[in-house]
């Protein structure tokens, strides 16, 4: 034990952790969005791991007793061997492990990489991008010999995984990022013991319903006559965006965000993942969308469908890793 851990063991405060894997950092910032509640958190809890904010070493964490961390948030997808190792480590060292954010819950934006290959990504990043200056065509390698000996970097996996694909997860907080108000309520519930420490990947800090439940706009029960993208037209206020032809993932997306994007006049992009009993958000939306097109002939149906620019990116933007097919062939 080092000085840090010794002191923490003595204080008896709640131990919380936040780790970021294949992540943009937004989830870490989102935790700070709890605003003044941060003071309450600080009073009640000790942070024992938070790479974004403080300097804890992995060996410190490894030295913690098992289940030392009361509440551990893990954001980001699992894309390399380091992230997987830490995921497993944190599972052992945590009482309650929470997949925080869309990436850890459903794969998030990084999981769109599952529609392409590692070779293709590396080529774009290290070889072919016009702004690169890499005449030797150097690419990252897991082991590189250099003057200091062998440098090892984590092994880059061929696929992006969710946290639940690696370890047993107790709770999942969806959202890109999750909305602070509800996150705070969930934290309070967990801390107060209203939610059991161990559970089966239950989604919290959200509702069971879809965004339509929180959406202020009204449906007119009309069918879609034409698809448009937000930059192509002004949306009529008060009227359902989907019915106007802007593809709003609201009907197939879990609510809890307060319909933030829609209140800013942009269609929902589905970041809270599937609602209700759905596991594959994309096919849920495809089923619903295909049902409300204004088309009585096959030709017209195809014309409308052809107006959708990128089905995979639209319907699986945040949930490729929790879909039935998980990615491209």
């Amino acid at each position: 034990m080092n000085a840090n851990t010794e002191s923490m063991a003595r204080t008896g405060k709640l131990k919380i952790g936040m780790y970021w894997a294949a992540s943009c950092g937004g989830c870490d910032i989102s935790l700070l969005e709890i605003g003044p509640h941060i003071l309450e958190l600080a009073a009640a809890a000790d942070v024992v791991l938070w790479p974004c904010a403080a300097d804890f070493k992995y060996r410190d964490v490894a030295a913690y007793p098992d289940q030392y961390i009361d509440l551990c948030f893990f954001n980001g997808g699992v894309r390399n061997s380091e992230q997987e190792e830490i995921a497993r480590l944190l599972r052992r060292k945590s009482k309650t492990l929470v997949a925080y954010g869309a990436c850890a819950t459903d794969g998030g934006i990084p999981a769109l990489a599952n529609t392409t290959t590692v070779e293709s990504i590396f080529a774009a990043s290290y070889l072919d991008s016009p702004s690169l200056d890499n005449p030797a065509r150097v690419q990252p390698q897991p082991i590189t010999a250099c003057e200091f000996g062998e440098l090892q970097i984590p092994h880059f996996y061929r696929h992006v995984l969710r946290l639940a694909d690696i370890v047993e997860v107790d709770y999942q907080i969806p959202g890109c990022p999750p909305q602070a108000e509800r996150v705070w309520t969930a934290i309070l519930a967990l801390v107060a013991g209203e939610l059991p420490a161990r559970n089966r990947a239950v989604k919290v800090a959200c509702t069971d319903k879809a965004v339509c439940d929180e959406c202020p706009r009204e449906k007119r029960k009309v069918r879609i006559k034409e698809f448009r993208r937000p930059h192509q037209a002004l949306a009529e206020p008060g009227w359902c965006l989907l019915e106007q032809g802007f593809i709003c993932m609201g009907p197939a997306t879990r609510s809890g965000c307060g319909a933030l994007c829609i209140n800013a006049n942009l269609p929902c992009r589905g970041c809270y993942g599937p609602s209700g009993a759905v596991t594959d958000q994309g096919v849920a939306m495809i089923g619903a969308l295909g049902s409300i097109l204004d088309a009585s002939t096959e030709e017209r149906a195809r014309e409308l469908i052809d107006q959708i620019v990128d089905p995979v990116g639209t319907f699986y933007r945040f949930t490729m890793a929790s879909s039935d097919l998980r990615g491209s062939r």
Binding site: A210, K221, R223, A252, G276, I292
Partner: protein, 669 residues
């Protein structure tokens, strides 16, 4: 042991079907293999499961072993599914804890290799076993029925249906939107095959209907709105003002005094009628009606009858009729040839068969005289299949964008009948029939064709891809020239001078698009109403409680229309007699915990079975209106809607079991 169990005691019954299955599928081996699956406690194979001994065996085993799921592997479920379900019912097991696997039409009859067929049968039965574990007991939906019927349409089909229903003790309201009963039958002269006068037969049926105490006849009546479901339809009807009433004594004076005239639709435009008119001699009601589009309310008719019996200011009335069942008998309209089609509309001597029949009618516009010089050996050409059996790319498309590709059934016999009538009036006439096929199919119809042949009618068979041409006759010895390649003489080009060209036209359903919307009728590609099943349930629509009678369903002659009408009446009466209607329990249901109120299902349901609970903001599905299509269940983006009997768990279990490879499949949740 609970009555429903949880799929821990599955019984599998495999039918040999007298060798139809067992000659190809090794049923014994299949039974052994599926018998090893978890939950299966009994398997057997038997020669004919649908037979009495087969049924008894099923019932015995259910009771003896306390089976909680039954799998039958036999012929197609379309044949005996109900039979087997009833056996479960008799044995005390919920009849929907049942799976029927098709191993005959879809396995033994189509897979040649016996080993492959056996494996397939095993696979399909295993899938059914997997599905069976997810089944739950279901009860048929029961809706109480109001013991009255509404018959829409006062032609022969509607009249027969109303009469039959009333004879069974039902209260019937018969609604006809024209001012007079009789429909298209009244526009005919004599009928095939009996030669009887149409209006005389019709009068008999009308009398039966009008005199019956249980039938209320409403003419000049429009259906405004119809709501409700089987057992309790509420229909709002507007009765247009007739203008004249039963106190009118001097009908002829009133009609003669009227100065306004218009085209008489009863004679298909061959004559004119007044604004105040009677449709035909002997029509019912025997009270003139005023055509308000033509009437100028000049009052001359009122003056002519001394002011009694005519009220030009009569107002429409609205009533609401409650009924348990509805019979649609809205009939047909004859196909109106397009302008220029075989010269129609260009040459006055090109007429339709319907117009010819009006000409032949002694009570018709010409007193039965044909527009021909009978002394001068006139030539008449009949062209068959006008507006029928059309071919995409050959015939011009109709305004609705389609071609009329179906056969209109009655026109061949009708044409032969009319040809013989012409011959009777003009023995020296030369008649030619330009036809594709001669479809005098009914009982006694072939005789018309034979007699036509014997009386000298010439038959010229044309290729449907090269229909006959009707042109002005340049030689002037007749008005028109009809030419075609005659297939009967090897394709020789034949030209026939014609003084009269008669187009034997097809039929189209009378336009009832509003009713179709109100009752959510399925309509076929040919625009006629679509029955549930052409052989097993020919007079029923998918919407429970609405029945079909007559030509609204397809071209048919009066024989067939009256048979259909009686069948519809019989079905409707049977439904009412039970006091309630039973519907399959495969309706959809909303989980109100998961429903978000996105209203996708409301937009999707073709039966308006989904409504919105504004208080809770969620969807509600009417148990009575839902027909069990499941479209809403697939559309719901929250998976909040499930269809009983076809819910996600059941279907996906079937998928998983079919694809199960050796060893467990990867967990994909």
């Amino acid at each position: 042991m609970s009555a429903t169990g949880n799929g821990a005691k599955i019984g599998v019954f495999i039918c040999h079907c007298g060798g139809n299955i067992s000659d190809v599928v090794d049923v014994k081996r299949v039974a052994d293999e599926v018998g090893a699956l978890p939950g299966v406690v009994f398997t057997t194979t038997t020669t004919f499961l649908c037979s009495d001994p087969g049924q008894v065996l099923m019932e015995q085993k259910i009771q003896e072993l306390g089976l909680d799921r039954v799998i039958v592997a036999a012929c197609s479920p379309t044949l005996h599914q109900l039979t087997f379900r009833r056996a479960l019912d008799r044995a005390g097991l919920n009849q929907f804890l049942f799976e029927h696997v098709n191993v005959r039409e879809q396995v033994s009859w189509v897979v040649e290799n016996h080993e492959a067929a056996t494996q397939k049968a095993t696979r399909l039965i295993s899938a059914a076993i997997g599905r069976a574990r997810h089944l739950t007991p279901l009860d048929k939906r029961r809706i109480p029925i109001h013991p009255t019927a509404l018959v829409i349409g006062g032609g022969i089909a509607g009249l027969v249906a109303a009469r039959d229903l009333a004879q069974r003790g039902m209260n019937v309201t018969l609604v006809e939107n024209r001012p007079f009963l009789g429909g298209r039958m009244a526009q005919l002269h004599t009928l095939f095959p009996t030669g009887e006068v149409a209006r005389e037969l019709l009068a008999g049926v009308v009398e039966d209907v009008v005199d019956h105490p249980l039938i209320t006849v409403l003419t000049n009546a429009q259906i405004l709105e119809s709501e409700g479901v089987v057992g309790d339809f509420r229909t709002r009807i507007r009765i247009e003002p007739r203008g004249a009433n039963e106190h009118l004594n001097y009908r002829g004076n009133a009609i003669a005094a009227c100065p306004e005239e218009t085209i008489n639709e009863f004679d298909f435009g061959l004559s004119r009628r007044k604004a105040i008119y009677m449709a035909y001699p002997g029509c019912y009601p025997p009270i003139p009606a005023i055509d308000w589009h033509t009437c100028t309310k000049c009052g001359k008719c009122v003056w002519a009858v001394g002011g009694k019996g005519i009220d030009l200011n009569e107002l429409p009335r609205e009533i609401t009729v409650q009924s348990g069942v509805i019979v649609l008998a809205t009939g047909y309209d004859p196909y109106e040839p397009l302008y220029g089609e075989y010269g129609y509309g260009i040459f006055p001597r090109v007429i339709t068969l319907q117009q010819l029949i009006r000409n032949l009618d002694p009570q018709g516009p010409t007193g039965g005289q044909l527009p021909l010089d009978c002394a001068g050996s006139p030539r008449i050409a009949f062209i068959h299949c006008v507006g029928a059996r059309q071919i995409e790319g050959v015939n011009q498309r109709q305004p609705d964008g389609k071609v009329k590709d179906y056969c209109a059934r009655t026109c061949c016999t009708g044409a032969m009948h009319a040809a013989l009538d012409i011959k009777r009036q003009c023995p020296k006439a030369t008649i030619a029939s330009f036809y594709q096929d001669m479809r005098t199919y009914g009982r006694g119809h072939e005789a018309y064709y034979e007699r036509a042949c014997e009386s000298g009618v010439i038959f010229l068979r044309y290729d449907p891809r090269h229909p006959p041409r009707v042109e002005r006759n340049p030689k002037g010895d007749s008005a028109l020239l009809v030419s075609t390649r005659d297939l009967l003489t090897g394709g020789i080009e034949v030209e026939m001078p014609a003084d009269l060209v008669v187009l034997a036209t097809g039929v189209i359903p009378h336009d009832i698009s509003e009713l179709v919307g109100m009752y959510h009728c399925a309509v076929g590609y040919d625009s006629f109403l679509l029955e549930v099943h052409p052989k097993l349930r020919p007079v029923e629509l998918a919407v429970s409680g609405v029945f079909l009678a007559g030509c609204c369903q397809g071209p048919m002659d009066i024989t067939e229309a009256t048979a259909a009408a009686s069948a519809a009446a019989s079905k409707a009466a049977a439904m009412i007699a039970q006091g309630q209607v039973e519907m399959d329990p495969f309706n959809a249901t909303v989980n109100d915990q998961l429903c978000t109120g996105c209203q996708t299902c409301l937009t999707v349901c073709p039966y308006d079975a989904v409504s919105r609970d504004h208080v809770r903001g969620i969807a509600l599905i009417s148990e009575a209106r839902c027909t069990g299509c499941g479209t809403c269940a697939a559309a719901c983006p929250s998976n909040a809607i499930q269809q009983y009997g076809f819910n996600d768990a059941e279907v996906l279990a079937e998928v998983a079991m079919l694809l199960h490879r050796a060893g467990p499949a990867p967990a994909v949740s």
